[in-house]
């Protein structure tokens, strides 16, 4: 079971290099991350994008592209399509978004999944490493579905359970998060949770468990007790997968790494390997970490013969 980002970095060095299709690396922080990952032996990149712009940022970050495989393409959607089809054809182990709109790579992935007949949909999984908690938790879907309905939530759960199985968590626990509280009637987010728990119990998602707890006080406080002192919060019971009700909730919660002492690694699990979609605000360190996570996940999918 992979439980820390140190594990991830170590494994990425051991299992790398993996072939990474990089879609339009035309930003300094991003190109710096690609260079660093190649130097560390995580990846062998295939850069796809505008020749001049890639060269310009590579020069700025002193990345010699002499021995780096490059494919020159101008059209943003064509770049996304090309990288994604390489992932699905097995020419690369993983893909990462650079300076193209996220919706373009989503469109390409949806098309490839449909062609492959996998029935998979897109969802973003944001893993968190929290100090003192010796395992990962993940928020999902933090990037693709604005208001997922029950059917979409089921697909989101399947993707997350797949990732946790890949990371070695045999029976991940899931909480269907909700703003349900003592007042305000029954929220849709809560009602969906009840239905999803029934589906999980019926075995719809494979080996996993959906817990009854829906909020952070539920995870930490015994019923009818109140918090006594600041910081004295026990989060050891927090489930591995936190299904969020909406994009607003997911995005706002998962990016609290900008504020709290936690580290975030986001990725999209396709049926053929991870697709990385760093935010435009992410810095080099965080992108390097995401690529390392991608290497480990790609390795386990390839080596373990795991598919969705």
């Amino acid at each position: 079971m992979i439980t820390t980002l140190d594990d991830v970095s170590r494994l990425a060095r051991e299992k790398g290099p993996k072939r990474l299709a990089v879609l339009a690396p035309e930003d300094e922080e991003f190109m710096k991350a690609v260079k660093e990952c190649r130097d560390k032996g995580y990846i062998e990149p295939v850069l796809i994008g505008h020749r001049g712009r890639m060269k310009a940022v590579a020069d700025t970050v002193e990345f010699d592209l002499g021995t780096v495989e490059q494919i020159f393409e101008l059209d943003r959607q064509a770049i996304a399509n090309l990288g994604t089809s390489m992932l699905f054809a097995g020419n690369v182990d993983m893909a990462s978004k650079g300076q193209i709109p996220t919706s373009f790579i989503y469109r390409s992935i949806i098309r490839e999944e449909a062609k492959a007949g996998t029935g998979r949909t897109i969802s973003v999984i944001s893993l968190w490493e929290i100090p003192d908690l010796k395992r990962f938790i993940a928020f999902t879907d933090t990037g693709a579905n604005i208001y997922p309905d029950l059917k979409a939530k089921k697909a989101v759960i399947r993707n997350a359970v797949f990732l946790f199985h890949v990371l070695g968590y045999a029976t991940p626990r899931i909480s269907v998060l909700s703003g349900q509280r003592e007042i305000g009637g029954v929220l849709d987010s809560y009602r969906d949770g009840v239905l999803l728990r029934e589906a999980a119990e019926a075995g719809e998602f494979g080996s996993c468990e959906i817990v009854e707890a829906v909020s952070f006080s539920d995870f930490s406080l015994a019923p009818n007790t109140r918090l006594q002192t600041n910081g004295n919060t026990d989060i050891s019971g927090i489930p591995e997968i936190l299904l969020v009700p909406t994009l607003d909730t997911g995005n706002i919660l998962c990016k609290l790494d900008f504020f709290l002492d936690v580290h975030r690694r986001s990725l999209v699990m396709t049926s053929r390997g991870p697709a990385l979609i760093p935010s435009r605000s992410d810095f080099c360190d965080s992108i390097v970490g995401e690529i390392a996570m991608g290497v480990v996940v790609a390795d386990r999918i390839r080596e373990g013969g795991l598919t969705a």
Partner: protein
């Protein structure tokens, strides 16, 4: 600028205290907190409930040597009605939930005839003390509204601005949160945030800077915001975080406490008297500061 919970308590002392706090069906934890606040000369408790039981609770506590009053009633509904009516009549400056069940309590406070409404929507604001610098941040609405309408968001914002100004954050800087920083018609929170932001530019909220839509990374980190092309004095320095709905608000409020380990207090605003709820995620050790915040508000004009 009031930057810590301790400063809230200090400032409450300069308000016209002690003020009367009415609490129905107190338990031992309520008696402990109200006793500390009374011993600190911030308040005079008025308990509503079974007189004998309350006297037993008070016996041997800090409160035993302070001024306090008891209104003896027979049952919980009567206790609730009496407590709310007392606050509505100006016989108390602050109302706390005590042992009344949440839904019944909120319903009673929201009753037009109770005299606690002032025509605006009520809202709940969570106040956090940052760890790395002396600053308070406000997150709202984290309890009362499920999916506030645009009009309700205006009131929620107005309520929080009034509190921020009382805490001397002037002009208050507001991050109107959404999942992305661009306006997208498919994501209604971005539209509401953009409109609030425009209204603020036109001074419809008085002296305040509302920026939105902001995603949380832009709100929290100026450098991250600049990489996304967002330039504003709010980024990386917001005083108020306005959330789109209760799923965000309630979960965010609790996450900051349980994972962020941040000290938190909260208060209902938009009422004629500040109202304090019994929230399991408010740490007992902060509840004197919570009472003090209500004392400050009752002396101010919220």
């Amino acid at each position: 600028m009031t930057g810590t919970f301790k400063e809230i308590i200090d400032r409450a002392h300069t308000a016209d205290s002690p003020v009367r706090v009415v609490t129905a069906l107190p338990d031992a934890q309520d008696v402990d907190i109200l006793g500390k606040a009374a011993a600190d000369n911030l308040i005079t408790p008025l308990f509503v409930g079974n007189g004998r039981e309350i006297e037993v609770l008070v016996k041997g506590t800090l409160l035993a040597s302070c001024d306090f009053d008891i209104v003896d009633v027979k049952n919980a509904p009567e206790a609730l009605a009496t407590a709310v009516a007392t606050a509505g009549r100006s016989d108390a400056a602050i109302l706390t939930q005590g042992g009344i069940e949440h839904a019944a309590f909120i319903m009673a406070v929201s009753d037009r005839d109770a005299g606690l409404l002032n025509g605006k929507a009520t809202s709940y604001v969570s106040v956090y003390q940052l760890k790395k610098k002396d600053k308070l941040i406000l997150v709202t609405d984290t309890y009362l509204h499920n999916f506030p309408t645009f009009g309700e968001k205006q009131s929620i914002l107005d309520n929080a601005l009034t509190l921020a100004r009382l805490l001397e954050y002037d002009p208050p800087k507001v991050a109107a949160l959404a999942s992305i920083e661009q306006v997208n018609p498919s994501i209604p929170s971005t539209l509401d945030a953009a409109i609030l932001s425009k209204m603020s530019q036109r001074k419809q909220f008085g002296n305040a800077i509302v920026e939105g839509p902001l995603d949380i990374d832009c709100a929290l980190d100026r450098q991250a915001a600049e990489r996304k092309g967002v330039r504003s004095e709010v980024t990386g320095n917001a005083d108020i975080y306005l959330v789109p709905d209760i799923d965000v608000g309630y979960l965010l409020a609790e996450l900051l406490v349980f994972i962020g380990k941040m000290p938190c207090i909260g208060v209902v605003l938009g009422t004629t008297k500040p109202v304090i709820l019994r929230q399991p995620f408010i740490a007992h050790e902060n509840r004197v500061a919570e009472i003090a915040l209500a004392v400050m508000i009752s002396g101010g004009e919220v």
